[in-house]
Structure formats: C-alpha cells, structure tokens
C-alpha cells in the first residue's frame, strides 16, 4: 500500500466515523467559548468609545495605544486562563486519542460509549507517552541544533543577505520537519501501544522507531502528505478570509462560517493523521489489525 492509498482509505474510514470529528469540534467550540467569555466585558467597555468605530475598518495601532496601556494588565489574567485551558485541552486530546484509534480500528460507526471506553483504557499510557515525547523532543532538538542548525548558522553569518535569508528559511523548514518527524514517531507509538496493548511506553516508542526506520519513505511521505494538506487548507483559508470585509453583520457571520469550516477541516486532518497512519501500520502488520465484526 502506498502512502496515497493509505491516505485515501483513511478518508473513507473517517467519513464512516465522522462523529469523531464532530465530537472534537464540539469540544473545541466549548473550550474556545470559555476563553471568549472574559473578552465580552472588555469589548463592551470599548464599544461606546470612538475607538470602536475606527476598529471596524481594521486594526490601526493609533487608536488602541491607551487601551493596552490601561487594560493591558488584565490580559495577563486571560493569558493565564489560556494556559490553563490549553493544558486541559492538550490532556483531554491525549485522552481522546485512544478513543480515536479505538473507534477507527474496532467500530463500524462512531459511538460515544466505546469511544470514551477506549480513551479511558489508554489514557494513562498516552499521558506517559506525552511526557516521554517532550523529553525526546528536547533531546532531539539539542542534537539537531548541534549537528545541523549551528553549522547552518555559521554558514549564514558569513554569507550575503540573500543566501543568509535562504539559509534562515531552510533552518526554519528543517525545524518544522524535525517536529513533524517527532510527532510522527509518537503517532506510531500510540498506534503500536493501542494495537498490541503494550504496557510500556518505551517499548511502544522503540517499536514505532523500528517501524518508521523500516519504512522511512512511506511513513514520512504519508505524514507530510497530511502536513501539506493542512498547509494548503491554511492558505485556502487566508485567501477566503481576504474576501470578507468584516465590517457588516452579514460579512462577519459569513466569515465565521468559513472559519468554522476551516476548524472542522483542521480537526478532520487531525483525525486523518491517526487514521492514515493506522491504515498504513495495519497494512504492514496485518496480524495486529483487529478484525472488525462488520468486515
């Protein structure tokens, strides 16, 4: 099975279990709504100022200096809240990852009970895996910095600005690739832990390493195929956003609809990462695939 075939098959499987995306979306909306609540009061305070009329057409610094001077401190509370909710969101998504893998591999349709059951079953291991992944990321980054980024920086320092800029872009690209590679490894670790019911996250991690190194082109190709589609969706969103003036109620709600479609598509792609990699993993390890009752 090629990366593209795995990707396409995964899309069909997600469509059959689209409730997963719906669930993730509802959760995202709820959390974002909690973070939006405190903003309401601040907007009310500004709405009866001349500043509000100016900010309809765009964000001009001229009119908001005093606002940030006067109310800037209160944003610290919002940032603290964002950090808190963000951590909760990450943990909850770690919890839901087990459900996503479970429903995709065991269920014909999305059903809440097995979804939550699988989530609960794997949560402890996935949390440990999350911590391990952060440690690995830090180690990986330091090695990468020493072996790749520092020589690139030295090269850039002695180059003319054109080349320097290109090397800086290359560094950023390489870091993004590194993060992608790391993320991919831990996706496969989750898949391995789930499918083989591995208790040790280290075993799961090394198992995923072995798998990725055995099929480097396909695994990386599949991961970055998903990655590219996310990037394309982002660009598409930016193009669409520019079509809305956001100065009237109609355009605001029109833009909101586009934004929600974009968020839905991002959550779909989040599921697609898991689904397509799981499809590919089971293709290479059919013995680990759970025979679905409906197949």
């Amino acid at each position: 099975m090629t990366a593209l075939q795995a990707f396409l098959k995964a899309q069909k499987e997600i469509w059959l279990r689209r409730g997963i995306v719906g669930f993730l979306y509802v959760f995202n909306v709820l959390m974002a709504a909690i973070l939006t609540l405190p903003i309401g009061g601040r907007l009310d305070r500004l709405a009866n100022k001349e500043l509000a009329n100016h900010l309809i057409d765009g964000f001009a610094v001229d009119y908001v200096i005093e606002y940030f001077q006067k109310y800037g401190d209160s944003f610290q509370a919002i940032i603290a809240m964002l950090i808190g909710v963000g951590l909760f969101y990450v943990l909850t998504n770690t919890f839901l990852a087990g459900g996503i893998l479970g429903v995709l591999s065991r269920e014909k349709r999305f059903r809440l009970r097995p979804f939550l059951h699988e989530s609960a079953n794997l949560f402890g291991r996935f949390v440990r895996l999350l911590f391990l992944s952060l440690v690995v990321l830090i180690l990986l980054y330091f090695v990468f910095r020493l072996a790749v980024l520092s020589p690139l920086k030295n090269l850039a320092d002695s180059a003319n600005p054109d080349v320097r800029f290109q090397l800086q872009l290359l560094s950023i690209l390489l870091v993004l690739l590194l993060i992608g590679f790391w993320n991919m490894l831990f996706d496969y670790a989750k898949i391995a832990i789930h499918s083989r019911d591995i208790g040790s996250v280290f075993v799961g991690f090394f198992s995923s390493m072995r798998f990725a190194l055995r099929h480097p082109l396909q695994t990386i190709g599949l991961y970055f195929l998903n990655y590219l589609i996310v990037a394309a969706l982002f660009v598409l969103y930016l193009v669409l956003e520019n079509q809305f003036s956001n100065t009237t109620a109609v355009s605001t709600y029109g833009l909101l609809a586009v934004q929600q479609l974009f968020i839905l598509s991002r959550l779909w792609m989040k599921t697609s990462f898991f689904a397509s990699q799981q499809v590919f993993y089971f293709d290479r390890h059919p013995e680990e695939a759970i025979q679905l009752a409906w197949e």
Partner: protein, 700 residues
C-alpha cells in the same frame, strides 16, 4: 539663492570615485557658515589591528571677545576604553564588547599649538559628573592664551584603537569600518549672548560635554580636508565629496575627501559593499543633488526604496523650507552590514539607512523601514546638520523637529494611517508609534522636555516623541500655513548656526504674531500633561428629565466616567455651564410644528491633565446632525446642554485628533455602543482561540 559653486570636477569625483587626482575642490563660492573649526587630517587605517594613526591640523578661530586660556577636545572613543567611563556607567555598566576584542580608545601622542608642543599640559576633565575615570574630554592649557577673534593652528598626532561597532561607530566583521567620532574634536566656545550664556556675562564658556549614554554631539562648522590611507580592497564613502583616490604600490590607496560648512566628518570603509548613483533634480530651480548609495550585496530589493525616499524627502524639504534647503552637491547613503549596528544614523551629508532583510522581503513595501529610516536620517541634514543645536543639552531641537518632519513626510508619501506598517490588516502610522512611546513611557510627569538631555531620565522619549507630538499639536493650533512659516523662517534664520529653544520660541512668537509662551511654558518647560475626558453624558426625553435626576434615562456613559463629576473636590466646580446654541433653538422650533419628542442632553467634559489646551468637542445626534463646540480647556469642568428632537449618538473631544499630546484618547469619547465592533472582535477572538487550541492539540 545661495551663492555657491559646484565645480564639475566635484561631481565627476562623486560619480567616479576612482577618478585620478584632481585639483582641490571648492564647493561653495561663499562660506555658508562661520567656519570656526577647520580640519586637515591624514589618517591611516590598519584593518588587521583595527587601529588608526593620524595627524590633524586644526585651524580654530576664537569667536568671542574673550581671552581664552585653554582648549577643550572631545575624545569620544575613550567612552569605550574601560568599564568606568561615564558612557558605560550610564549604560548600567554594560559594555557590549567586554568578552571580545571590542574596546576602543584614543590617545593623543603629541599636541602643538602655534607650533609649540603642549602635550604635557593635556589633562582629562569631567565637567558634567566629575568622573575621574572618564577620558572623553581633554583640556589643554595654553602657554599663551587665545586672543579675541584670533585664529590659531593646533597640530595633533593621535592613535586610536577602533571599538567594535557600537552606537554607530567602529568595526564589524572582517571588512567593515564605520568611522564616526574618530578624531580629536574641539568643543564649542560660546560667547556671551549665545544660547544660554547671558548677554551680560563677563565672559563666554566652553561647551564640551563628556560622552553620555543618552547624548549625541555638538560642534562648530568648518571645512574638512581628510586623506584616508587604507587597503585598496575597500570602497570608501565620506562626509562631503571624494576628490580623488590615489593607489599606491604597496596595495594601499589614499582617498582624499573634502567637505565644507559641516560640523562633523564620518567615513565608511567596506570591502563588500556595492556602489550605486542617482540624482535628484529640482525642475523649478535646476538644482541637482547627486545621491550615492552604498548597498550591501543582496539588498537590491531596497535600492529603489532608498533612492526614491531620499529624492522625495529632498523635494519635500525644498518645497517646505525654501529652495536649496539642501545646498550640498552630494548625499551619501550607507546601507550598513547587517548586525553591524551602524544603521539609522546621521552625519553631515552622509546617512546610514536600515534594512531588516527578512522583514523587507516578506512584507515588500508594507513595512517601510528603509523608507522611513531614510526620511528620518535625511531630515537630520536640516535639523542637526544645518540647524545645529546642542544635542547634548537640547536633543529635542533636532530629534523632535526631525521626527515631526519624518511623520509629516511619511503621511504625505504613504498615507496617514499605515505610513509605517500596512500589513495584513495591521496598520501603524509613524506618528502612532511616537505617540505610543510617549503615552506608554514612564515618568511623563517627572521630567521636562527642556531638561538637559544628557542628564534627563526620559531624555530620548521626550526629545523624539513628546516634542514631535507637541509640534504637531502646535501645527493644528496655529494652522499649517502659519506653522510652516515659522518653520521656514526658523530654518533660514538659524541654519549654519547653533540655536537654543529660546531662539525657536522667539521665531514662533514673532511669526505667529501672538504670545505662545503659555504653550511652551507648559509643554516644553513644564512637567504636566494634556488629558481631557468625558465626565458625564445624560440624554433623556425632556418630560422624563424634568421629573428629577433619579428618573433620567442614562444614555450609556460608562459608570466610571459618569461618576467622575461626583468625585471631584469642592474646588473643581463646574465653571462653565449651559451652552444652548442658537442652532438648537432653531432646530427645535422647526421640529415643534411636527410635535417631535424632545430630548434634553447634558454633557460634562473634564480637564484631567495639568495643562490647559483649547479643544473641540463634536456632538452628534442620531438624526445625523453634528455640532462642533470649542472650549478653551482652562476650567476643570465644562458643561454643554441641548434640547433637541433626536437622541444623542456620540460626544467626542478632539474628534480630528488634533491634540496628539493628549495622553489618553480612550476617555475622549462616548458613543452609542457599536454592535458591529463587538460582533466582529468577539468572533475574531473566538476563532483565534479555536485555532490556538487546535494547534496545541497537535502534540497530543
């Protein structure tokens, strides 16, 4: 028109720096300045050791009727000689070069006056702070004092270790030298009547400050003839014009430069820079100014931006301040090596620009760093280069005037909103950035613009930001025509001289034909701020209002401001009450025939800041009718009352933003709640939160 001559050979030398030896150039037929301090310098650059060795002949004229017993010199490089210099101490003790070979210093090896060696009499003094470890000012006692109006020759042999580039002077990398404040430079002797020396003072005084963390320079005008010997690989740019370059058999070359009627001399030696030329011509006067651009390789994207903004600025000043406002034949723009820290600085006829490479590429012309820095530094040719105030003491006289000019030119060229940034819906004008600096800066009430810059806590904020905003405020108050007349006369009267604030105030009062001292006393000499705010807004049907205050229909003024009236002390009584305009009555009369519902509007505005300044108040009703009322702003409170057949829509103090010195525009208005604003930003925020959360979820 100025009587000056630009010989053809000068321009040829400019356009072809490698031209062979020419006869010595004269730029101006008649001197434009008093030419009190004239230098002939021979200097050799050792680019390996990063040192210079030089011989200097200074021809200096005593401008006073005093007998002067000593001479004083700036040795700016010594600010970087140790961690105890005043410069380093005032920079919180931070010496950016400490771990590296970055220190710099200057050593006077021999000094002779009228041919007589006086090296032994040289000593370092610290007139500002008494710091015995500071060696930035040297005093030489003369065996025979300088007689009134006498011209004497001073010969100096000096050696200097060039510091690693900091505050726009020194070396960077292997082959970049930006040389500013690199030679012993005589201070300014101020005779009685000049600047702050009283006319009846028994004698004048040296004005030769130490090098401080927050200050720049002050020097007399003169003629500079400078011969720079250095390896042939370097491209050289200098203040003034390059007369010729002579190559030597040992692989070195000598660049001979000449500048007239300037008060400083800077030069660049860069082995990798590219050399471009263009020119600005004034079709009305026929004046032609050659523009030389030294551009870093790979910075081609900025080439046109440099040239076009420079030409537009030259044209603007010419139109604004008078023909031949920039009288020199050449303007040199240096695009310094990235990381060198040499960007954004002005020297006579030579400026350094600034290109932030990735930002310039990514934003194209939406972030106008190259343009605005060029406008700013070129503006300094007028405010500093020609109108040569003392930057140690009154930096606002150049930085403030120049920032005002930059904002104005930026608005004119690129539009009022977004003149600095106009990128993906985020817009910032040059003035807004200055205003942000002022209103968010600390110590608004702890210092005065007029405080000596070198000692002021808030020196640069006030010099750049507050004073540029003050000039804008004054422009709005007087009207652009009158204000421009003031600027033009001030420029023409004081160019090639050293004005103080009093000289500007005198011109302003004279040209405006009114006493503006109230403005300067409070804004320049005072430490108060301008701040007006809405204290209370009530708007209700007349019938309801007549039943008493408890039953009035509050129209939405926020509770904080609504309570401001109540929180005032007894002395803050409402001094101006009831302003029912004729127009209101007329409007009411017309409306009565149709029996409309009448509304009673009661608006109280308040002076919160210490400084009183006239302001305009816009009152708009829901039927679209607008009234503009002017208030002299003197009392603490002012009330407007109206009876009108429409509800109030908004009240805005200073609706056209004519008082950028107002430190809080947020309290200047009350409007009916803007529902679209709430809708737009609430959903925008919501989407941002969704996106952030979705991004965070990628790690789980």
């Amino acid at each position: 028109m100025l009587g000056y001559l630009r010989l053809g050979c000068a321009l040829m030398a400019v356009c072809a720096p490698l031209a062979v030896a020419q006869a010595q150039t004269t730029i101006f037929r008649e001197p434009l300045s008093p030419r009190l301090a004239n230098y002939h310098i021979r200097v050799t650059l050792n680019d390996t050791n990063k040192t210079i060795q030089g011989q200097l002949r200074l021809t200096w004229t005593n401008p006073s009727d005093d007998v002067i017993p000593d001479l004083r010199f700036h040795l700016y490089y010594n600010a970087f000689s140790n961690a105890k210099s005043t410069f380093i101490r005032e920079n919180m003790g931070s010496a950016p070069w400490a771990p590296d070979n970055g220190w710099g210093w200057m050593d006077i090896r021999r000094i002779a006056v009228r041919g007589r060696d006086v090296t032994d009499s040289l000593r370092f003094i610290a007139p500002d702070d008494g710091n015995a470890d500071d060696r930035t000012v040297a005093q030489v006692m003369l065996p025979q004092p300088v007689q009134p109006r006498e011209t004497l020759e001073v010969d100096i042999e000096f050696f200097a270790k060039i510091p690693r580039n900091h505050v726009r002077t020194g070396w960077w990398g292997e082959d970049f030298f930006f040389m500013a404040q690199w030679f012993p430079k005589i201070g300014v002797y101020e005779p009685p009547g000049m600047r702050f020396v009283p006319k009846d003072a028994p004698r004048g005084q040296w004005n030769c400050h130490q090098f401080h963390a927050n200050t720049e320079f002050y020097a007399d005008f003169g003629v500079y003839d400078v011969e720079i010997t250095l390896p042939q690989k370097y491209v050289v740019a200098t203040t003034g014009i390059i007369e010729r370059e002579v190559e030597h058999a040992d692989g070195s070359k000598t660049v001979v430069a000449h500048a007239e009627d300037v008060h400083d001399f800077a030069w660049l030696a860069d082995a990798s820079v590219l050399d471009y030329s263009d020119a600005w011509e004034n079709p009305k006067t026929g004046q032609r100014v050659a523009i030389r651009l030294l551009l870093q390789p790979g910075h081609d994207i900025a080439k046109d931006n440099y040239f076009e903004s420079a030409k537009a600025t030259l044209a603007y000043f010419d139109e604004w301040l008078g023909p031949y406002a920039y009288p020199y034949p050449l303007l040199t723009i240096v695009d310094p090596q990235p990381g060198s820290g040499a960007g954004g600085m002005e020297y006579p006829t030579l400026i350094t620009g600034m290109m932030v490479y990735p930002a310039a590429v990514l934003t194209r012309e939406r972030l106008r760093m190259v343009e605005t820095v060029t406008i700013h530094e070129l503006g300094h040719q007028y405010w500093y280069g020609m109108v040569a105030n003392n930057e140690f003491e009154e930096a606002f006289l150049d930085e403030g005037f120049n920032t005002y000019s930059e904002n104005r030119i930026g608005d004119d060229l690129y539009g009022r909103v977004g003149s600095l940034i106009d990128f993906w819906g985020f817009r910032a004008s040059l003035e807004s950035v200055r205003r942000m600096g002022y209103v968010t800066g600390e110590g608004q009430r702890d210092a005065r613009v007029a405080d000596p810059t070198f000692a002021a806590l808030n020196g640069s904020n006030f010099a750049y930001n507050k004073w540029s905003l003050a000039l804008k405020t004054l422009e709005h108050y007087l009207g652009r025509e009158t204000f421009d007349r003031i600027m033009r006369i001030y420029f023409q009267r004081w160019r090639f001289r050293h004005p103080s604030r009093n000289d500007f105030i005198a011109v302003a009062n004279e040209v405006a034909r009114q006493d503006l001292n109230w403005f300067f006393d409070s804004v320049l000499l005072g430490d108060g701020v301008i701040d007006y705010g809405i204290a209370r807004v009530r708007s209700a049907p007349v019938s309801l209002f007549e039943r008493g205050p408890d039953t009035t229909q509050a129209s939405g003024a926020d509770s904080l401001e609504a309570s401001a009236v109540d929180s005032l002390s007894a002395s803050d009584t409402l001094t101006a009450v009831s302003d029912t305009a004729k127009a209101d009555t007329e409007a009411t009369d017309t409306a009565v025939a149709e029996k409309p519902k009448l509304y009673y509007h009661d608006i109280v505005i308040r002076r919160i800041g210490e400084v009183a300044f006239p302001v305009e108040v816009l009152i708009r009703f829901e039927d679209g009718t607008e009234k503009r009322k002017r208030w002299d702003g003197r009392s603490r409170l002012h009330r407007f009352t109206f009876t009108y057949p429409s509800r109030l829509d908004r009240v805005v103090i200073d609706p056209d933003y004519k008082v950028p010195l107002d430190v809080n525009w947020l309290n200047n208005s009350w409007t009916r709640p803007n529902e679209q604003f709430k809708r737009k930003y609430r959903w925008k925020w919501f989407f941002w939160m969704q996106s952030i959360l979705a991004l965070l979820a990628t790690i789980s």
